[in-house]
Symmetry: C2
């Protein structure tokens, strides 16, 4: 057995504790698979005294997290501090500059600074690995970087945020409203006290931009992701979708082609015969479509200390084996930069939902706006008056350009007939 891979660990939250527990529990197996032992040698976190349920007294404690980068005993630094900038980024830069390997679960940092960090890693011939940044323990980054590497990938999409999927599938199962289910998810620890990063789609957008880069060989372009979360999905949307044979899922989707690079996170209607319709709870799932392999699906726990630690240690095993190359599969300098695709040009079916007063002529106005914009209606459900006298109109369109749907909605925006913001959701196509 050759000498161990020595790890300095920054951040001792639930995932950091998970990494230590995993390495303890599976020590021998990891050494067999990695060809040598993996050992934590130094740790750093905000509070040394906090009880984490693991014995950290056997590791060198380092007060200044940034100092881990130059810790003499460490071959590689694992960053579990979080945050797109600040201490995490400083540690990443310093570690790579020191020519050490760097493993992170930090999707925000990779989405914002991945390209710079990849260039730094390549300059030193060292490892930058981030399997845990997307879909928790599911090895989807490896699968895109290596498993599907022979393919031109045209589309990658999936359920990338476990909190949103937990909320949507609970709303679906119990017929309850968003606010109520969110409160319960917070109480159960499935949603943060400030849930906006999750429920407004930002976290999914971070992950999507990372997947897109790996799938298409393009520069990470987080700033170009169109992002809409699940805050405005109401119980009736889920019920009407179900009546029409769909489930509502927050889907991040990216496509590359002649039209440029398209990236969007948005609630979608997913047909029941699509595997994503059957992904419930906090599970994540990613689909990649390659020109030779066809449709691949990867699914598993998207968060949690065990799954995330599994991905972090898989990265460490790759490093221990010496099996790593450029972080984005190809040199960062060779990643393409595609123009942003015009989403108005996209064709597809769509779901529209209006809340309207129960009076004569409203439906005619909606139908006329659709007709004038060239939007053909496939099905329409109108449900009787609620307590406040309002009526719900849910529409599924035939395939149409998104631009046309936007025009119809624009026309109705000024109308007295439509109360509040109409809901628009694309249907996930084959």
């Amino acid at each position: 057995m050759t000498k161990p891979l020595r790890v300095a660990l920054a951040g001792l939250g639930t995932v950091g504790g998970g990494v230590i527990r995993l390495i303890d529990a599976n020590r021998e197996l990891i050494a067999r698979r990695a060809g040598r032992p993996i050992e934590v040698v130094a740790v750093s976190a905000r509070d040394r005294a906090k009880d984490r349920g693991v014995d950290i007294s056997r590791f060198t404690w380092v007060d200044d997290t940034a100092a881990l980068a130059n810790h003499a005993e460490a071959d590689v630094v694992v960053e579990l501090v979080g945050g797109s900038d600040g201490p995490a980024l400083a540690l990443a830069r310093a570690t790579l500059a020191a020519g050490k390997g760097f493993v992170t679960a930090n999707k925000a940092m990779m989405a914002h600074h991945g390209l710079e960090l990849a260039e730094a890693a390549e300059a030193k011939g060292t490892a930058l690995k981030f399997e845990a940044a997307v879909a928790g323990g599911v090895p989807v980054i490896k699968s895109l970087r290596e498993g599907a590497a022979a393919n031109e990938i045209g589309r990658v999409y999936g359920i990338l945020n476990g909190t949103c999927n937990f909320i949507l599938s609970k709303m679906e199962a119990e017929g309850r409203g968003f606010d109520e289910v969110l409160a319960e998810a917070q109480a159960l620890g499935y949603a943060e006290a400030d849930p906006s990063f999750d429920i407004d789609g930002v976290d999914a957008a971070h992950k999507l931009s990372i997947l897109a880069s790996l799938a298409f060989g393009t520069r990470p372009a987080f700033g170009q992701v169109e992002v809409t979360g699940i805050r405005h999905v109401i119980a009736a949307d889920i019920a009407e979708a179900a009546a029409l044979g769909f489930r509502v899922r927050l889907v991040g989707i990216a496509e590359a082609g002649a039209h440029g690079l398209f990236q969007r996170v948005h609630p979608h209607l997913v047909p029941l015969d699509h595997p994503l319709a059957h992904v419930v709870g906090s599970t994540n799932a990613v689909v990649a479509e390659g020109n030779y392999v066809g449709r691949l699906l990867f699914q598993g726990a998207g968060a949690g200390d065990g799954p995330t630690a599994s991905a972090v240690v898989a990265d460490l095993i790759d490093i221990a084996r010496g099996e790593f190359g450029p972080p984005y599969a190809m040199p960062a300098a060779s990643l393409n930069e595609l123009p942003v695709a015009d989403s108005g040009e996209r064709r597809g079916r769509a779901y529209l939902r209006f809340t309207v007063p129960d009076k004569v002529g409203v439906l005619a106005e909606i139908a006329a706006a659709m007709r004038d914009a060239g939007v053909s209606i496939e099905s329409l459900i109108q449900r009787g008056a609620a307590e406040d006298g309002s009526v719900l109109v849910a529409i599924v369109t035939h395939e149409v350009q998104e631009r046309a749907v936007a025009q119809a909605l624009e026309k109705l925006r000024g109308s007295q007939s439509v109360a509040g913001q109409p809901m628009w959701m694309p249907l996930l196509g084959g």
Copy 2:
């Protein structure tokens, strides 16, 4: 750009043609991802003149397939000849002995001779890769070998044969019988003229033994797999299963633990809330359960020239990058040998189906045999007489040892009441 990885290709059937087409179509992308071009330099097959839809005149033709092993221009040999022994095995041995990399889609050979070949590859420090041997283009071998490498895996299972899944899901969708659907599958090219390797479960058993070895770090033990195919599944089994909330799938399942190594291919009842219940057509899906990552699911096309070529070329890309290690993740010499688990000890629910004459006392005899063996019945459906006067009795048991069910069936085997062989299928448990 460094020098190309030069490939000698043995076998020019549909997959061989697919590999050539893929390398042609995605040449530039592959070179970017692999860090260098991948080029076919020499080919060998039975019939030089056959039209394969690809131009092979640009490659060196080698009459004697075995000679590819020592072809001066080739760095790596791709074997797509098939068959567990014979020319494929001779080529594998000679190639590895020559210290060249070897890539194969040959599950039969890997199931029978994988250990020997891995030892040969390790002795020369060369690559032996076989991603295409299991689940076509789905990178499940990489995911077990690397992506889930940090985990102790307790169980791996899945739908490993596309032909069987095509037949079962078609029987399910159309309510038709096995023979009729098999004939149609043969006409459509989804089943071979001699379909026994597929429908009798042998192909799935080959793949299962490969997965088990990677998942558990155990020596491949194909000979120990309990194998039952789908020949005896009748339309009524599928209908009764559906009435009870299940679908019938041919599942290969392997478990390792204190009880030893358990490996079985058998039709199972899969509950509708399990992702495998939604795998239809010729798709493959593999589930691995790790002690930290939880349940991972990998799904995609299990066969076909495109998906299989995708896996073959992914292996070539790993070799071009120099990212390969011991074929089974750890040195072959360190793989464990576990005793065969006693399947009689397994506990679970089971489906039983009897065809019986429509006369007094038959049900009592079946019920008594169950009671005497300690098998508790959860639900029972008896369907009215068929044309021949026979009646179908379908039972789902409560959780029970398999040994007890076997005892009940043994007792009924001599009975005048039960016509033909009863059907037994385990229920796939959480």
